[in-house]
Amino acid sequence: MKEIIVIIGGGIAGLEAASNLLKLGYSPIIIEKSDHLGGHVANWHKLFPDLTPAKDLVDELIASSKDANIFLNTEVSFINRLKDSYNIMLSNGISIITKYILMTTGFRLFEASKKEEYGYGIYNQVITNSDLEHWFNTGQDKRIDESPMNAIGFVHCVGSRDEKARNSQCSKVCCITAIKQAIELKEKFPDAQIYCFYMDLRLFGKKFEDFYTKAQRDHGIHFIRGRVSEVGENIEGKVIVKAEDTLAGKPIKVTLDLLVLMSGMVCNPDSSKTASMMALPIDSDGFLKSSDNVFHITASPKKGIFYAGACTGPKTVPETLAEARSAVLDIHSHITSQEK
Amino acid sequence: MREIYLSGFNTFVLPFMFGMLFVLGWCLIGAVRIIFQLTPDDRKKFFLSFLNPKIMLKNIRDWFCDCLFHVKLWKRNKLLGYMHSSIAFGWFMLIVIGHIEVFLYTPQRVHQIWYPIFFRYFVAVTDSTMKGSFFFFLMDFFLLVVLSGIVLAIIKRARSRIFGMRRTTRASLTDLIGLYSLWAIFPLRLLAEGFTADISGGSFLTKSLNLVLHSFLSDQMNMLPTWWAYSIALCIFMCILPFSRYMHIPAEILLIPMRNAGIPVRHARKGISRLQVYSCPSCGVCIDACPMGVVKANSKDATVYLNRQIKRSNERRIEEISDKCLLCGKCTAVCPVGVEGDRIRIAQRSIRPYNLTPDYSNIDENSAILAVNNFVSTENNVVSNTNNERVLYFAGCMTALTPGIRKSMESVLRKAGVSYEMMDKDGGICCGRPMLMAGRKAPAKEMIRKNTNIIKASGATTLLLSCPICLKVFKEEYELEGIEIIHHSEYMDRLIAEGRLHVESSDVRYAYHDPCELGRGCGIYEQPRRVVAAAGQLVEGAKSGKESICCGGSLGSLSLGFEQRKLMTENAINNLTADNPDAIVTACPLCKTTFGRYADRPVVDIVEVIDSKTGN
């Protein structure tokens, strides 16, 4: 009999895991609370650093996992621990008994409006990274004026590395995303000056540094080291941004036509909720706690429960996919060792 | 002997006369202008040099060796040397012998300057006498020599590699006109004299041609058009001469005494530098010599093109070429006429306005003076310090980035029991050479003044340098009477020779790289080689010594970027590793850093080699 594996979360980690489990002959079940698969990536336009269309990735993942059982618009109502398996009750009334659960519950974008000083939801020209991707995809956002812009700003680390926002860790992908989006906007509005306000630039990944120097040299994007302190609005409805240019040691201000807030990744509250049903521990950063952060990042301390992707901390797309495959392999070796 | 035409004139001489007078006038005015552009001191020096028999003798030798025999080209490539000297010397002899003939046969025609040129047309000489046949033979012989040179020149246009040149100069339009008219002159002369040979006489070449011509062209009327063609070819050549590379012929005549008088390049467009520009024969030797040439696009930045652009006053290109140059000095070293490409470029850089007002008033040399004022003998005084030598060691800015060199130098000094003091222990003042390379004399002078104060206050007898860039400026621009200025390679050579340093030889094969500023810049080639040979097996690069290839890291270039230099460095490394040495040895911190970036084997400074090969 095919082993049933329940995957909680239909984002890219869940899909990639399902597709690999199918290849190994298992029968994965994906539980997704929203009405679509692909999670955050499905709403993204292009992926750094090669500007791969996000849609291509998600479509491919969906195609390769189409044989899995997929429940959309479904949440986990509760989970009971049986002797050596789990009974999962879903919001649609179905219950599943499984030995293996893979948590791919992902992350949630930090609510930019919590950083009140940046005026998200207050000033018309302030949007988030996610809003911008949405605009890239659909071309529809009342806040973005299609007429030529003079100046556009990006605020890095919105809700990341911010103890006051109760999120002290780095969200890892925002620096490179900001650079990607800055280049994309510069290509749409070649005459606009683009400013990136950063605290540190953390460009750790493959080709990220190239992307950064390209942004500087070929696109003339200005990088200003300093955290934006406050955002105001002038009489023309443009946003005025104040920061310190820490490299110059001087306060700096600039009037912008558009301000993009790089909302960071925080733990998905649904993820914590589901975790609490299984008494899974939460790490100090608010994300799910792996049994070991070096050696067993995909393993939970509970038997039969595995993690993949951003539920354990901010991750890039390739890291998430790799982790999903890794988790599948973990599950597979666990099952085969049980059979022996 | 008889004169064929009593008037001694024919209208066909008019084109020649026009060209001749034009070119003479042009050169005369040019020479006067150039002499007046010299500073009064230089002018005086120039005129006085003619009274100095030693210089005069040198002038005469150079006129013959450089202008006529092209000795430098012979040294480079026999075929190339023959090609140039055959045309120059052959033509010169044709003119000289032509004049001798006029003197001998028609002394009354001496004032008619066309007479020696068209002698065969106007005078018939019997070739049966010894005298007659001798001159006929000589004239035909030298014509043959010239013609052989022309044939080689035509071959060179198509296949320059035979002449040892990878790349040749791309000719300009005026150069081409000059070239074709030059090529035309001698065959036309042969044709004209061939037609006339049965009347005026001739020798093996002209007589034979005459017979051939008469076999199918019996009409005497063909004679006059050929003489016209010959005269017109001469006229075209002389008229185009000032605007083409052939200007080098008259220009070099003036350049030689001026150079021998020791007149320096002071202004990029005036005086001797203008003369040098006009003396450039566009031979293109500098194109292959240029280390930047490894990138094909840079071929256009060789000195020959700088000269051409200066003649054309193409300011944009002049600046571009001047700024790009690494100032390795190789083009100057190989130039057969002595165009100082590097100095002209520096002078050109100095013309340009520098909007920054350098201000070094906040540089405090007094603390540096205090720091160097306490000479201490090293503990290891095995070899007694006989001559009371006090060495002040100036490591230099670049050595600060290669601390291994400084450390080894101090170690060697201690081992040799030298009493020394560091001049820039806590960072020094730049020697001024990079500023001079950028063409900025005044701020460089300020740095020189401050460093001079420190050195003089130290009470040193010897100034020891690790960086050849510093060495050159200390030697050329500093006034440090009584203080010996020495590079560490020379100094170690001396320590070894004096037995103060005992080097253990090994069989490590070292390829020695001549740093531009040490070799071509200061003429130090042998001392470092002796030092390296003391420590291991000395291996030469494919090109070395005067023709060594710049590492590409030179501070001389103002515009070459990091990436653009990569190929030059790799090329220089390939040159050094032609004989597969174990390590590359250099004597310049900048070369070391630059090579170290791309080399596939260890790159060490000469002092590091010696330090590792000397015991206590």
Binding site: S113, E116, E117, G119, Y120, G121, I122, Y123, N124, E230, G232, E233, N234, I235, G237, I240 | -
Partner: protein, 356 residues
Amino acid sequence: MIYQGKQKIWSDYQKEIPDDHWYYVRSCIRQNFFPASEKMFLEICRNVLGKDFHENEHHTTCGGIAYHCDTIPQETAMTIVARQFALMTEAGYENYVASCITSFGNYTEILETWHEFPELEAKIREMLWKSCRKEFNKPKYLAHSSDLIYKYRNEIAEKAKFHLINKETGEPLRVVEHIGCHYSKMFPSKGVGGAEYPYVLTGMVEAWGGNVIDYPERRHCCGYGFRQYHVKANRGYSLSNTHKKFESMEPYKPDMIITNCPGCPYFLDRWQYVIAEMEGKTYGENGCGIPVLTYEEVAGLVLGYDPWDLGLQLHQVAVEPLLDKIGIEYNLEDKYKGIDKKDLLKPELPTSIKCF
């Protein structure tokens, strides 16, 4: 600007303010600057609205100015404050309302510090006992007096004789609200509306018919900055900050400025004269300045009190254009007359800024 966005934030930062029975403490400096304001506060609360507000002549400074000027240590300031609380306790009150923003900030800071470090509170109790033989209860509710006017804003609006509406055009007046820095910047949750978009004055202005302007330097300090003003050498810096605010609000053509801090109205008012003298620049219409009023004065005007009884003649910037806009009648003859029509003597009027 998205108004709904602000409303959402305002709804997040609401604070519990009891309706009645308050122990009131005055500011050190307000009575000198705008003497009718505190009187009007008690007048409105006690007589117009019939609330119980108690004050005690033995209360002193809270020590805030000295504390912010770094001339006394925090423990001294805490002991002074403890004595004030003791007076409140003795009077039988548990709701404490301060007239001064810096006092309010000071009290908030001290209460929060005691909350975090109870041992410090114990020490202060001991010091208070040693010095004055007094004991205290911490106030159950702490408010700034503007919080109360904010709370009563709708009752005041119901009784209003005038509204912040231009009588001629029928348009709402354009009002700049300026919140004292120590109100909520230190503890956003202790102020009505938080720190970024405080609602306390906006609520009053909206309730009384005006329109609040959101200009870029809205958050900026009035320029007082304690040490910046008190040290004469720094006074130019103080002035520059005020100047910056005026330059920023100028394009919006504000009709008035409403403030809730002792220092702010004073500096926003007086520096307008200094800027006019130095730069020859005035920010109001026809060579006048922008009238700067305290919230009590505005409440008094709305309720129909005589401008001169509200002490508006003590403002440097002439308030008459504002009164004209609202349609409040006044007698210019009586401007410099005090109680019982006693002649206060008309001051020499500046020429750089238009005054009456």
